[in-house]
Symmetry: D2
Subunit: 121 residues, 4 copies
């Protein structure tokens, strides 16, 4: 997260937002942010969202996720939103999206569905 320049923008029960400002070093050849960076902030948003529902003595680990990259990640800032859809003792299922902002308008550039495991410390 620090490497990417991402910050935790909001934490609510079952929903976490992570903000990422545009930065040239995150870009691939065509001037849009690399899918790896988009994936990382969205995976993190889902993981932190899951953590808000985990038992107090647990950490969380992503068991798996699937991401659709809908369009090039063009914008001056990005917001990853992770939401808990279902949480049990053991597994939490989250969905998430990344919004790319140009001024106040945004487009959704990625969608995720993730399975996260509660791990007792």
């Amino acid at each position: 997260m620090a490497t990417l320049g991402a910050t935790l923008a909001s934490v609510a029960d079952g929903e976490v937002h992570i903000a990422l400002p545009f930065s040239e070093h995150l870009c691939q050849q065509h001037g849009y942010v690399h899918a790896g960076a988009i994936t990382s902030i969205l995976d993190s948003a889902c993981g932190y969202a899951a953590l808000t529902k985990a038992p107090p003595d647990c950490e969380v680990v992503s068991a798996e996720f699937k991401i659709n990259l809908l369009r090039p990640a063009l914008g001056d800032r990005f917001l990853a939103i992770g939401k808990v859809q279902s949480s049990g003792k053991l597994l939490t299922v989250c969905t998430g999206e990344v919004r790319a902002f140009s001024g106040s308008a945004h487009k959704v550039v990625a969608l995720m569905q993730a399975t996260i495991v509660n791990v007792r410390q």
Copy 2:
């Protein structure tokens, strides 16, 4: 769809609902509807939703999907909801869920994220 006893409950631009009544022959050993039936109606709902956004001379084919089975599919009827999240000339991305109803209350039992291809006839 006919084999399962499923019916098209609603068709709107970018959103399709498919209804499935409970039936014993769809059940596995524990009295809940088999994941295969749940997956089929949800894949169909996503496919039909994609079709509402496809060019007029195109059919649609699921390229891939991912489904999370959140809890056992217990209920007296089921509703699969497929929604288009993004549609291009070639690919459509849908998300979907299956709701299991007991009377008027429902629980979401499955979540899907699918990629569907427009195929010129």
Copy 3:
């Protein structure tokens, strides 16, 4: 499985094969077997493969899977192969494929990656 006409063709430690003969009632409009049937036998093959690695007092449940449908399922018989790639106390990860046979030649028509949970009875 019985509804589809599928049978367990082979069970080894960490690998299970399920056979499905062609049948007209499994077909969609174009004469190939419906994705729902292909998905069901592949999910079952992965689930049974996971069961061969599960602790003796456990059942298995698919938490999620992703399937790519590579080409139309045309053939006179089909073989779903599920293989365990990783198994822990709690979660098993399987990959699988469905082969469509025309005589002795075959093509792979579907690929799956699945996460299966051990559930204590």
Copy 4:
């Protein structure tokens, strides 16, 4: 790739290997390499593998992928292997794995299944 310190280790028709040496700045709190880095090199290996099968005037873009993170990415070096499983005019389906090496022994730490689109330049 350069940001991560990853290099192209081998390119064959339909199969690409990407090497990543261990580096402290890629680690999360527990001393293993972050899932974001593992995901990035595996997505890249699948993308480059797809490129070896793409028509000469095409670029490739990942439409979507699913990754299972099997165990913590502990090792002194990592190898991401992407393989083409099916390629058409439009879509290529790849599978991939990341191996974590400690000396000459390795464990598979991640599995991917990806759908990649050919895009005419």
